[in-house]
C-alpha cells in the first residue's frame, strides 16, 4: 500500500517537474549574438568556407 502511495507521489512530482521544466526561448538577439561571435572569431582562424574559390 505504501508502495502504491509512493508511486502516486512520484507520478505527481514527475508531472510537476515536467511543467516546471518547460523549454523557454532565449532573448530576441540570441542568433545575432552567435553570428557576431562567429564573425569575431573568423579572422583568428584559418578556416575558410569550402565554397570560397581558391
Amino acid at each position: 500500500m505504501s508502495q502504491d502511495m509512493n508511486r502516486d507521489d512520484n507520478h505527481d512530482v514527475e508531472q510537476r517537474l515536467r511543467a516546471a521544466l518547460r523549454p523557454v526561448d532565449p532573448g530576441a538577439g540570441f542568433v545575432g549574438g552567435v553570428m557576431a561571435r562567429i564573425a569575431a572569431e573568423r579572422p583568428r582562424t584559418a578556416r575558410l568556407p569550402s565554397r570560397m574559390p581558391r
Binding site: 507521489d9 512520484n10 505527481d12 512530482v13 514527475e14 510537476r16 517537474l17 515536467r18 511543467a19 516546471a20 521544466l21 518547460r22 523549454p23 523557454v24 526561448d25 532565449p26 532573448g27 540570441f30 542568433v31 549574438g33 552567435v34 553570428m35 561571435r37 562567429i38 572569431e41 582562424t45 578556416r47 575558410l48 568556407p49 569550402s50 565554397r51 570560397m52
Partner: protein
Amino acid sequence: MSADEACTSRTLLARATAGDAAAFGTLVRMHQRPVYSLALRMLSDRHQAEDLAQEVFLQLYRSLAALESEDHLSFWLRRVTMHRAIDRLRRERRYAGMPLADADMVASDSADADPILERRLRGLLEELAPAARAVIVLRYQEDLDPVEIGRTLNMSVNTVKSHLRRSLALLRAALAVPGSGAGGDSPTPPRPLPSGHRSLI
C-alpha cells in the same frame, strides 16, 4: 520531427558545413530553444545561460564537419551543453547568480499550472549536485529515457536510475511541507533538501 523537417534539417546541415552562414543561422534558430533551456535549468541565470548556449553554437560551428546527421546534431548539442554546464557549476561551486526561481518569469500557459509550486521545484533543483540536476533536467525537460541520459552524460544506466530515484525522493520529501503540498498556494518556502544529501547525489 516530420520527414520534411528532417530533410530540411539535413539540407541545412550540409549547407552550413559548406560554409553557408545563413543556413547555420537557421540551424541555430531551430535548436536555440532546447539548448538555451538546458543551460538555463542548469545554471539558473538567464545571462549565464545565453552565454553558455552561444558558446555551444560557436563550438558547433567549429565542429560542423564532424557531424553525421540531424539526430547526431541534437545528441551532440545536448551533450556539449550539459557537459559545459556541469563544468561551469563545478568550477564556480555555488553559483551566486539570481536564482532561477526569481529570474524565470515565463508565464504559465496551462490552465492547471501552479507557478508558485513550479518556482519551488526549480529552486529545489538548484540544491542538487550538478550531475543529479543534469539527470533530472534531461529526463523531464527533454523526455529522454535512462539509456539516452547515460549516453549524453557518460554515465551508466544504473547510475542514472539511482540519481532519478534519489532525487525524486528528495524532491518529494522537500515539497511535503505542511500546508503547502502539491497544488497549494501558500507562500511558505520549500523545506531545503536534507543537508546530508546536498551536493552528494
